[in-house]
Subunit: 346 residues, 2 copies
């Protein structure tokens, strides 16, 4: 073998090939040597069988999300940590304790093995941080030009107390609305990376697992009526969803919204409204008024809730509306994100 | 609005837009009017909470698969039915009763709404046929050129008896190997469609749910040691996997392999070895010899097992090998699919 074909050979094994998705030898080797160990699983079976005896009498929560974020690496995270945290958080929002994840990879032919390794490392690290286990997975490869590097699907299962029922149906006039942290970080971090902008200090994605925070919140009080993580569409869209589903009116105050100066500045620069910018590490909780102050203290005692704040409350009418009281004393009607402000943000 | 912009407008709402994946209003409408009802779910929550009280003391099986098949419609099925049946079958192979599915869609901008509707109809029909429910989902849209029409991820959960343990570790010399039906149909159907070939009568994909068949098999005997559905990589790759994992030698007879004349002919034409062609509606079972004849009868009584056949048995050595006794009396060593015979077959 001459030097150039050696180089080609080296190049070849460092990229994903169609054969890696064919179900045959190349795929088995990839799973055995790379995906399995790096994602933190020993055997990558088609189906995992898990024992939930310790959780007898609980209900099962089940969720799925695909991640197509572009670019796949951004300040504060990457598609791997995002895929783990996002699914952990979806489970957490119904009050479930997340336990097991699946990992479905759709990789474009030619994707560098080194980047796959970094993404899988990140999956492993994020799983360990959230205390969940990747127990089953799948790898598909599509031809060059039929994908975009890597897409990841994670599904997740967790266990929920039978007597816990978090739902917009529980929301009542008088409820207090708490946001667990600064808004807008994830969307701004990804948009900045996509557009080659850098801020000093950089705006970091807030991607993080919220199960620890949710656990201490539910230990403190069961007077929480509903929780949501305002991801795509931002806080505005999430609040509007809850207003519509519960038939109440939500009133929030602009000056109570936790938001960093950097994100504020970046949003002005990028022409974004932070209320519509995606978040990946905060939640909004609707809680009975008499428990709201103490819950806020509990939340602020947790790293993921340090910047938690009460941002408004619930009125009986006008039903299905979200009202924003601006700093200047006006009132603005908040609607869902109308179009495609931030495609492929997660 | 003049006629041409009206037409544009009509055209616009009939295709998937980036806004459909943005988390905002367009996405909510798409889910509410199209994805939710068509996929057969009323509320498309981020997380579903399911009650498994009826299955107290059982274990949970959990699996995931992404589907990137090209083309998305082929004789006998489409990406929608494939995604449901594939995940139902992965659960069935560990002896689980499949109950709930998640549905993750990654759609390319510009994908015709009419095709999405057809795919979702197919998801609904296949779910009804298999007796499973789609309870949670996710929709992402990627820019034109960053995907290929539609990719689907389904994850699934089911329940398994605690005392049921299907594993290659149980396979023993003397075990008899049964295949539940004709091999090669799915791969040939997709390849024919992809290459614009048509056979008369057409070769149809065998995509179908196997949970019904598995149920009567396990009712009949618990002497089944392991089951697998030989999908990507075909029967050869699956048998080689089992030989390696169990450390036994697998001996099969070419003339016992159920295969239709059409698939045989098509494989010759396309230059494919049917042993390596993907299947989506058959299983291979390793069973204790004394139960094999009666199990075969039971399988043949079921629509999905009509063409079941005993194809060989298990020897102690040489360990990890698969031997094929050819019709001409020779013996051939069977290895895993070495390369990329059939990319994007599922």
């Amino acid at each position: 073998m001459n030097r150039s074909s050696q180089k080609e050979q080296t190049e070849k094994i460092q990229r994903i090939l169609l054969a890696h998705g064919s179900g045959g030898k190349a795929m088995h080797q990839l799973i055995k040597t790379t995906i399995g160990p790096l994602a933190g699983v020993e055997v990558f079976n088609d189906s995992a069988v898990v024992d939930l005896t310790d959780f007898n009498g609980k209900q099962i929560a089940f969720t799925t999300d695909s991640y197509v974020v572009s670019p796949i690496f951004f300040p504060g995270g990457d598609i791997g940590s995002l895929a783990v945290n996002g699914t952990v958080n979806d489970l957490s929002m119904v009050g479930a304790k997340p336990l097991y994840l699946s990992l479905g990879l759709i990789i474009e032919e030619g994707f560098p093995m080194e980047l796959l390794t970094r993404v899988l490392d990140s999956v492993k690290e994020a799983s360990a941080r959230a205390g969940v286990r990747v127990v089953t997975g799948d790898t598909k490869v599509v031809n060059k030009g039929s994908g975009d590097g890597i897409f990841i699907n994670t599904a997740g299962i967790g266990v929920v107390d039978k007597n816990l029922n978090l739902s917009p149906m529980n929301v009542m006039p008088g409820d207090v609305i708490i946001v667990s942290g600064d808004i807008g970080n994830h969307g701004v971090a990804v948009m900045a990376e996509r557009n080659g902008l850098s801020f000093e200090p950089p705006v970091m994605s807030d991607t993080r697992p919220l199960n620890g925070l949710v656990e201490i919140m539910l230990e403190h009080t069961r007077a929480i009526h509903v929780m949501r993580d305002p991801t795509r569409g931002g806080l505005a869209t999430t609040l509007k969803e809850i207003a519509l589903e519960s038939g109440v009116c939500i009133e929030i105050e602009e000056e109570k919204l936790p938001i960093s100066e950097q994100v504020k500045g970046a949003c002005e620069l990028l022409g974004l409204d932070p209320l519509y910018v995606a978040n990946e590490g905060i939640l909004v909780a609707f809680v009975q008024k008499d428990m709201s102050k103490s819950l806020l203290e509990v939340m602020r005692s947790h790293d993921a809730g340090r910047n938690a704040n009460i941002i408004g409350d619930v009125k009986a009418s006008p039903s299905g509306k979200v009202l924003l009281k601006t700093k200047l004393g006006g009132t603005r009607l908040v609607e869902m994100l109308p179009g495609e402000q931030l495609p492929r943000i997660c």
